[in-house]
Symmetry: C3
Subunit: 331 residues, 3 copies
């Protein structure tokens, strides 16, 4: 499934953010650079820019996530948009037709941006295929498919702490099989030219043919972490496991939970990341999560700036919109 064309308008400007797969390196860099200029907004006394004043942003969360919804609500409000939170019962929109009726109604209200989370892969894509030219879509997580804003904030964080991607060995550890976050990270890392991207997981938590995405596969954490500059631990999606994919939580922690001992396999200055929320004592030990190499909380801080950047870029591109020229720069 490629969304390349759908994400850009006729003039080649980013119109939606649905997936990182197929996104040009230059577009990713523009987002990261714009986000750099937004970092300072969060540190000001008055954390407010007028870029999206008079725009209506709809948080359309068919799958509930207080945490992710909050980051988009804050990002939108700091850009002066009006933000509307909607949490339609998933039950009433199981049929694609009804999902589209919901969306058509909202766009008829002259809303400008939908931030969409849905348990079904492809939901944001389906919506983007049907909205008129002035409506923008950001995918905030669809099934197992993609979570591009998380992937981009992770790239932003890696770049801030570890410099150019060309020299980096990045290990993504844990439940790759169910993780839309891992997919988005892998596409971003390979596009940005990371030297060595690895997935580290038990066989039962690895999708078939994951190597085709350009990663190396490790089922042993010792060799998987060897020499890593960046370690990304993933949340064990307990709620998504239908069968017995792991023998027990204790055994999973023993084999793949990130502890100080296992951390020793990586480079001494490796950074530790996690998309949150963490299962402490399952995929990550508290000593590591709260230790000096952890950049888990900076990821959250960066997430606001990256989401502001994405909103400003895709909505600033509209014909008569206020061009956010003062906050954009190119590499």
């Amino acid at each position: 499934m490629t969304h390349g064309d759908l994400q850009f308008d006729g003039q080649g400007r980013l119109r939606h953010l649905l997936t990182i797969e197929g996104l040009p390196r230059q577009t990713i860099l523009e987002i990261l650079n714009t986000a750099e200029s937004f970092i300072s907004v969060g540190e000001r006394e008055i954390k407010k820019l007028p870029l999206l004043r008079g725009k209506t942003v709809v948080n359309l969360f068919f799958e509930s996530s207080t945490r992710t919804r909050t980051t988009f609500e804050i990002a939108g409000k700091r850009l002066s948009a009006d933000v509307i939170n909607l949490n339609p019962a998933a039950s009433s929109t199981t049929k694609g037709e009804t999902l589209l009726d919901t969306v058509r109604n909202l766009e008829a209200m002259h809303t400008d941006l939908f931030v969409v989370r849905h348990r079904e892969s492809g939901a944001a894509h389906l919506i983007a295929q049907h909205v008129p030219a002035h409506v923008h879509i950001i995918n905030a997580g669809d099934g197992r498919h993609a979570h591009p804003t998380q992937g981009l904030l992770d790239m932003f964080t890696i770049r801030r702490y570890k410099g150019p991607f060309e020299n980096l060995r990045v290990a993504i550890v844990g439940d790759i099989l169910h993780s839309r976050v891992a997919r988005s990270q892998i596409h971003a890392l390979t596009t940005l030219g990371a030297a060595d991207v690895r997935v580290v997981a038990p066989m039962t938590l690895l999708p078939t043919a994951i190597e085709r995405l350009g990663v190396r596969v490790f089922t042993d954490i010792k060799t998987g972490l060897d020499g890593a500059d960046v370690i990304i631990t993933l949340r064990l999606q307990r709620e998504r496991m239908n069968g017995a994919l792991i023998p027990s939580e204790q055994e999973y922690f023993n084999l793949f939970g990130l502890t100080q001992e296992k951390l020793a396999y990586a480079k001494p200055d490796a950074i530790i990341m996690h998309p949150g929320p963490m299962n402490r004592g399952l995929e990550i030990d508290s000593a590591v999560a709260d230790g000096p190499q952890s950049v888990i909380l900076p990821q959250v801080t960066n997430g606001i700036a990256v989401r502001m950047a994405i909103m400003a870029i895709i909505m600033g591109g509209s014909a008569a919109g206020p061009a956010p020229s003062e906050v954009r720069r190119t590499e």
Copy 2:
């Protein structure tokens, strides 16, 4: 039940909007004309007017409705009001006394407008009888009684597409018995002088003595739609049916569901309306709902402008308030 006096203040200005029944023709026209001037706001880059800045609007939805609540939230925010969403559990306010305690508390916070939805007919009316002079009430649907903002946005839509009411034949099709929307439409259409207002439904979905409201009754859809300029289909309120009022959903669709075949009975340029949300394949076929004669999505767009107009008119009338003179015009 007449609310005529209650809806106007001592100077004859509209203070609350509780029902269309008894509302003077001139008042309805003032709302429609004001809404015309707000239509362009939704099409601007910056969809924001300062008319209600510093006012507090409370969406007080005892009965849940994400869709209607959203339209009022957007309308209030576009007028720069602060909007507070409340969804009190119906259980805790079953007694009138407690309902009034809730309202008295909110008005003690110096709130300015309550948008009230409640499953019991007369709830908005009861509240309006007890609030002090500076507090305004909009009825967003009370039981089977009234849904006046829906009725007014429907009139706005009819006027935009079909010109003066004096020449129009309007057919309202479906579950008239349980529909507060139908009641509000009928009162508006008769006040505005529509030439021929018809209700078309099986006997079991018609209130007794509905003719007294000034409509003609048809139980056969072929004759009911004959020569119609406007067809309004109603949502089949499945959740309100206590007994077996229709033989089966399939049979209902066969007899009263609006299809291309049945549409042929009406005028070739008839418009199709529906208050939403639609049961596709039950009261309306998708080919009709999405067809060239459908104005169902324009109804939603118009709903924002009409609700902005109502808010601006009832709140602009306060003594020291900012007079929305620049957006009002009279016929």
Copy 3:
């Protein structure tokens, strides 16, 4: 448990509001005086001040309370802050560790103020111990411990109606045992030098050794109310009663429910207060609640001004923040 030090920063400025216990008289008076200057804001046409523009206030309600949440949402918005409402499921944050993860994530988003309600005593205190210097906490009710904003708005109301505290006899009637409100009121009244503070309740609803807080205990309402200037009735917290602490609701009303007859024991100009929501016919009779001596609704009005004052004071103290000099005065 004393939070005195935690509530002030190094320069002796109020940084958090966790409890009234240990709060200096001068600080309480500064809050009440600042609130006086905010009362007029609620009576203006444009109820808006720019003091907290660009600040992010998070209503973090682990225990649901539409009513209290609304007062803080209105107070924050009238000060021009961005307000985010969160209602984390209590289940997902039963462990202190996870509670802190939630908070750390929110503070990483550069939020400025958490208004915290939690069913466990000490929750707001725990959070305040862990946030960085630029984040402020207001306790909006923690278990049976404290509800300081309620206590302060009650003091504000008493001062407005009955003048200096030194001359006052105040009777707090009802479920003292489970009431965080009563604790906050007692600390405030004794700090402000009220002449005579009394608790009036059946033995089963009195905490042991309550006298140590500086109150006199009465189990008979007739002697308890004798000569009172102020009567505060408490909500009977039915949901908190594990056992049979009262014989029956009817008997409780007969013995402790405030009626016109019992009111006659107090001074003729005594005022009647209640923190709401009321159980009419249980702890208070409607004739008293709605009678001429009741100041229950003014309490709600004052609550907005007092909460605005607390927000402005604790957030105005930050280094580069806009000093709310125009709205503060000292006694």
